[in-house]
């Protein structure tokens, strides 16, 4: 099954648009976190003990970022031209874009985790 998924991924084509999926996920999660905290505090005046919506949103953001990172990881290994993969060919361009997406996905995972960590520790709106 994984093998078929890999083939599916290879059929997809990374572009500059897919490159910005991980950082966009990070940005959306950041905005979501602030909105969530602001709305909660404005409505109830305090945090909840088990912020299910927040962890749901965080999981969704991580899922999107990890999925796009995985796709990028597969595509960065697309067989084709010879190493060192730095020529101006379609295959090398794909590998480059995919690798850049993979690195951005790594950074975005760290960003989302760092944004979410305070919720574990802060317990009120002050």
């Amino acid at each position: 099954m994984i093998g078929r998924l890999h083939q599916r991924f290879r059929a997809l084509r990374v572009t500059l648009w897919t490159l910005i999926v991980p950082p966009t996920g990070w940005a959306a999660h950041f905005l979501f976190s602030y909105l969530w905290a602001a709305v909660r505090c404005a409505k109830t005046g305090r945090y909840v003990d088990a912020p299910a919506i927040f962890w749901g949103g965080t999981a969704a953001a991580l899922l999107v970022i990890l999925a796009s990172g995985w796709i990028a990881w597969v595509q960065a290994r697309t067989p084709g031209d010879h190493p060192p993969h730095e020529a101006g060919t379609d295959s090398d361009r794909l590998r480059f874009l995919a690798y850049a997406t993979l690195l951005l996905a790594g950074l975005s995972v760290i960003g989302v985790v760092f944004t979410a960590l305070p919720v574990l520790f802060l317990r009120d709106c002050r």
């Binding site: 760290i110 985790v113 760092f114 305070p118 520790f121 802060l122």
Partner: protein, 326 residues
């Protein structure tokens, strides 16, 4: 003087001045007298030490990279180095420092029985109201007393513009914003006389907007607060009548007299305070006289009008009378 000596002299002055900064036990983050400030102190120490270790590691790597012969690393080895030293380790170290620091952001819990002190920032002084759990308010100004070993909740507001409330030895600073209240729970750990300061530019005399903070043993504080509730002792001092006749009571309250103004600081127990003008002048007769004559000369932009037209004997009598308000 030879150039070398003077350079050494200058260096000595710079280093000496920096070292003298450590002698400040009056208003300093490094002279903590509260649990919050001690926490901030500790977290700063750990962060600075952590930052220095990271900086030393990076510098070491750079020296190694500059000195290494070409080909010292294979392609794969170099990529692995970047991944581990450039990606994984920084992410883990930063995560560890973040997790270490986050619990310090949790504010102290406050019980309904804890003493609340409402402090309102005004241009350029501090309106203070002690609110013990029995609900009655004890109004004061420009000096804050707190009991050692008990949780105190400062409820902060801005009266006119944005101010910021900071007692460096007690806790972090917090803004005072017109139209909203900010809560700052603290607990003092040792008695003494300290100083706080406005830390948000609020006008011409922003730098002269300070206050004394007196941390007292809890029993002594209770006695003091009970004494503060009492109105001023009725006085036959000629200054008392002059204070009212010249309209001072329109802005300043002295409980127990006809002076009930709330525009300026409360004077009921003024003589107990160490300073006047919100930490600007010592609380003595000459200073009070000077402030009464021309407040703006002491504190530019102060809202209080000047009274140069008062006869000298009357102004002096008022200044003396204010010194009797124990």
């Amino acid at each position: 003087m030879r150039a070398g000596t003077s350079r050494r002299g200058r260096l000595a002055i710079v280093l000496g001045t920096m070292a003298l900064g450590g002698c400040n036990h009056h208003q300093s983050v490094f002279a903590a007298f509260g649990e919050e400030a001690a926490g901030i102190n500790y977290i700063t120490l750990v962060m600075v030490a952590g930052g220095m270790i990271v900086a030393a590691g990076v510098a070491g790597l750079m020296i190694w990279a500059v000195r290494a012969r070409p080909g010292a690393l294979s392609l794969r080895g170099g990529e692995r180095l970047i991944l581990i030293a450039g990606g994984l380790i920084p992410a883990l170290v930063l995560a560890a420092l973040l997790v270490f620091s986050l619990p310090y952001m949790r504010p102290r819990g406050v019980a309904p029985a804890d003493l609340r002190i409402d402090v309102t920032g005004e241009q350029f002084w501090w309106r203070v109201a002690y609110r013990p759990s029995d609900g009655t308010a004890v109004v004061s100004a420009n000096e804050i007393r707190i009991p050692v070993g008990r949780t105190v909740l400062f409820r902060l507001a801005g009266g006119d513009v944005v101010h910021s409330f900071w007692i460096p030895g007690l806790a972090g600073k917090m803004d005072m914003i017109p139209g909203r209240t900010n809560d700052l729970p603290v607990r003092a750990t040792r008695a003494g006389r300290f100083r706080g300061q406005c830390t948000e530019f609020c006008g011409l005399s922003h730098a002269l907007m300070a206050f004394d903070v007196v941390a007292m043993p809890a029993e002594a504080f209770d006695r003091w607060l009970a004494a503060q509730r009492r109105p001023a002792v009725a006085s036959a001092d000629p200054g008392a009548a002059l204070f009212l006749r010249h309209g001072c009571g329109g802005c300043h309250a002295i409980r127990g007299t006809a002076a009930t103004g709330t525009i300026g600081p409360d004077f009921t127990h003024l003589a107990q305070r160490a300073t006047i003008g919100a930490g600007t002048l010592p609380n003595n007769e000459a200073a009070r006289l000077r402030f009464l004559r021309e407040p703006a000369a002491v504190k530019p932009g102060a809202r209080m009008p000047a009274y140069p037209q008062l006869p000298e004997t009357e102004a002096r009598a008022i200044a003396r009378y204010l010194g009797t308000l124990q």
